[in-house]
Symmetry: C2
Subunit: 214 residues, 2 copies
Amino acid sequence: MKENPNNVVWHEPSVTVADRKQLYDYRSCAIWFTGLPSAGKSTLANALSRKLHSCGIMSYVLDGDNIRHGLNKDLGSSPEDRKENIRRIGEVAALFVDAGLIAMTAFISPYREDRRTARAIVKQGEFIEVYVKCQLDVCEQRDPKGMYKKARAGQIKEFTGVSAVYEEPEKPEIVLETDKLSVEDCVNRLLDYLVSNEYIKKSRMAREMANAVL
Amino acid sequence: MKENPNNVVWHEPSVTVADRKQLYDYRSCAIWFTGLPSAGKSTLANALSRKLHSCGIMSYVLDGDNIRHGLNKDLGSSPEDRKENIRRIGEVAALFVDAGLIAMTAFISPYREDRRTARAIVKQGEFIEVYVKCQLDVCEQRDPKGMYKKARAGQIKEFTGVSAVYEEPEKPEIVLETDKLSVEDCVNRLLDYLVSNEYIKKSRMAREMANAVL
């Protein structure tokens, strides 16, 4: 019998997290990278994202490039805006987790309170705080965008590490000392964590699918 | 030779849209459903999302359930907040498209200007406006949440269709008359559009992968 559109029940169940899990065979989560400017947050997030991609695992990196000039372009540097910046990033990360991706965020996020807010937004057990730890002088030596130089010259006010505080994480899930470890070592530690906490399967890592078309 | 972490170039290329395309074999886009309350926006978005999921295509529906109480919980009903609501949804949809998903939005979005803003945020050729068209009396008859009833009783102010205007799309990519077509017919039209405009491959639709583990 032809469905009568006027009487149809206008509700359809959504694709659930369980449905997605069945299809993707990995568990989505938010990996929150925090650390000083030039500590290596974006580098590590992007390196991990490439690795996951090569294994057929969907991920996405939220960082200054895609957030500052888009979603959060209306926000300035006031304390309220700073909080709102991190809150929105947390909310978007939670949406990506709900959508079934491994979401990564690469923001200095220097304040414990803001990181707590982000953690509270994402579901329990799906938030992984990664402290990208690096000595200030090493960060300053890297300084790929010349931001430390500008901060030392007084051209940037309230620059984390120079003229604004960075509150170290108290209980991060992972600490990566980027002044001691290579990028590859850091990525391997992240992968080990994801495997041992059953976000991704070891078998998945073994059969890399760089050129596979699903 | 062991990489020296202090001298490493702290930059890694991101996973690009081209990389994702190679892996997923479909083209991401934002499908923007607009229409009167109870016209069927969420129903169609969720039905399409389920269908795509069964074909192994990643999609995500942004709607009141996951946006209003999260990302946009700070927004009220003033004209500025209404604009900001749609702007943020457009920005998040663009992030999902960048991440390689078929993003769907199910919001009344009654004003042409707001929809133009959303269209401008998403890359050209990746925004599909779907006018979910339905006669007011049919919407009002459906009224699953009793919102029309409340609006008629004066308990909701500025309710689209009753006490606030809905500006019909002038050049939507797709029009679906939900008072004439069944949900299934509407979903098939959407799929036809996605195939004929090369977002998804016909072969992909043929081999449904409902229970496949990739």
